[in-house]
């Protein structure tokens, strides 16, 4: 096994399991639909709330899709094979995450312009929304991986994973929606974007290692 | 003493119910933690003692 053969096989696996990515997207759409139906379809509610609605939906959709990231590998024994492969496990985790990020986030980013019209987001604000998604979503994936790796040996780990990981998503959600809210009232939002980038970078250094520790503890 | 009388101390101006309910709930929670922890330790010691004595006999 080499890094490139692993990377290629991950792309292939994602491609073969397209339905998983589609499920995440549909889930994302469903969560967003809940708000106009559950609270109010009026522009007065949706326009200021749009950033928060989209970000909550993204956080949940990412959690749902990351949760199953190691499940199949765990069940068929390939996770063990990764541990004994002699390759550096954090790098493998990172490669896997990169593939997942592209598979989930690219379609989601394509979808946002359409959604932003449904939630009455102006075109100028849309740009900020997309920037927060690009800068903040890596942190969601990276933190989520730790939870996925910890709960992979559990038959019903999804709720547990939600419980332990969601609190760590709060800063990302706060600063993303903060940037969007600031843009909506015409204030500068560079600071929030910078913090989002910083959080993503910080988790980039920490969480592959933590996920690797968790994977090693989980395979037995 | 910041209060003139016992009644005043208990009523705390108009804030008595708030103050005393906070301290009451806290007392229950703290005592609960204390007794639960002490009892858990006692039970574990008892369990181990029985087990060791049983092992010694056999």
């Amino acid at each position: 096994m080499t890094y490139s053969s692993f990377f290629y096989s991950e792309i292939l696996a994602i491609f073969r399991r397209k339905q998983d990515a589609v499920n995440a997207l549909v889930f994302f759409l469903l969560v967003i639909t809940l708000f106009p139906l559950g609270v109010s379809p009026s522009k007065e509610f949706l326009q200021p709330a749009a950033g928060g609605i989209i970000w909550c939906a993204v956080a949940l959709a990412v959690l749902m899709s990351v949760e199953g990231m190691f499940k199949e590998d765990y069940n068929d024994g390939s996770l063990e094979q990764l541990v004994v492969s002699g390759l550096y496990l954090p790098v493998l985790v990172l490669l896997k995450l990169a593939v997942h990020w592209f598979a989930i986030m690219l379609p989601l980013l394509v979808l946002t312009p359409i959604l932003s019209q449904m939630l009455f987001i102006n075109w100028e604000i849309l740009w900020v929304l997309i920037l927060t998604l690009i800068l903040g979503s890596p942190a969601l994936f990276l933190i989520g991986t730790i939870g996925a790796a910890l709960t992979v040996s559990l038959r019903r780990g999804a709720v547990l994973m939600l419980l332990i990981i969601l609190p760590f998503y709060l800063p990302v959600i706060i600063f993303s929606t903060g940037a969007i809210a600031a843009a909506q009232v015409g204030q500068p939002y560079n600071g929030q974007l910078a913090i989002l980038g910083a959080i993503s970078l910080m988790t980039l250094t920490l969480s592959p290692i933590m996920a690797a520790v968790s994977i090693k503890a989980s395979v037995n | 003493m910041a209060f003139e009388s016992i009644n005043e101390f208990i009523s705390m101006g108009t804030h008595g119910p708030y103050v005393w309910s906070v301290y009451g709930i806290s007392l229950i929670l703290l005592l609960g933690s204390y007794f639960a922890s002490v009892k858990a330790k006692k039970n574990q010691i008892k369990r181990l003692k029985q087990r060791y004595l049983r092992e010694q006999k056999s």
């Binding site: 096994m1 080499t2 490139s4 053969s5 692993f6 290629y8 096989s9 292939l12 696996a13 073969r16 399991r17 199949e72 069940n75 068929d76 024994g77 390939s78 996770l79 063990e80 094979q81 541990v83 004994v84 492969s85 002699g86 090693k216 395979v219 037995n220 | -």
Partner: protein
């Protein structure tokens, strides 16, 4: 990689020694103060009752499980905490052999052995009795056939240390003979094999029995 220039296999000095290993699994001591040495050219067979911890011992050697106490040395180096050195030379096949259901047979082998040509892969599949299956998705195969995909890796690898958990279960009489021949070839070339099996092994192999009680 066998170096022809030197006239002898590389790593012929390689050995794996275990000293004072204590393994605990769910509140039960499986291995108490267990020691053994396996040298290059040897086949070590771990013996023991069902549930004695044969697979667990293999996993501990592979570094998948942590022992409670004890050291493992690989060619003299202490690898108790960091198995990287061993992993570079290790091929481990466990109960679940890491075959991905969504991949075809050839894709599964390509992933593990990326440097092999498709001819080599076809040949290996032929040996384990999966000729003509290379494009079949693995989930369409039986559990036994899936195990044989994993076994095909033995013909495609240059790793020196093999840890095999029940490698013979999915094979028929002919397959067993072929695999035994492969193991012999591997040990003759200076390789090292540790395996668990219920089956009696062929006499031509120099088998060292390791008893777990």
């Amino acid at each position: 990689m066998i170096s022809a220039d030197l006239g002898k296999p590389l790593h012929s000095n390689l050995d794996l020694s275990i000293s004072g290993l204590v393994i605990e699994r769910s509140e039960r001591i499986l291995c108490d103060n267990f020691s053994c040495v396996v040298k290059a050219g040897e086949v070590a067979r771990i013996m023991g009752e069902n549930g004695a911890g044969k697979s667990t011992l293999l996993k501990v050697i592979a570094g998948i499980l942590q022992p409670l106490e004890g050291q493992i040395f690989f060619s003299g180096e202490d690898i108790s905490y960091h198995r990287d050195m061993l992993h570079r030379e290790l091929l481990y096949l466990g109960h679940h052999a890491g075959i991905k259901a969504v991949f075809s047979v050839a894709e599964n082998l390509n992933w593990y052995c990326p440097n092999q040509t498709s001819d080599a892969i076809e040949l290996a599949l032929d040996v384990v009795g999966l000729a003509g299956y290379s494009d079949t998705p693995a989930h369409q195969l039986s559990a036994g056939q899936q195990r044989r995909i994993a076994l095909a890796r033995l013909w495609l690898t240059d790793k020196k240390v093999w840890l095999l958990d029940e490698p013979f279960t999915a094979l028929d009489v002919k397959g067993v003979a072929v695999l035994e021949a492969k193991i012999k070839q591997h040990t003759d070339a200076g390789g090292l094999v540790i395996l668990t099996t219920h089956q009696a092994l062929d006499d031509s192999l120099s088998v060292k029995e390791i008893k777990l009680v």
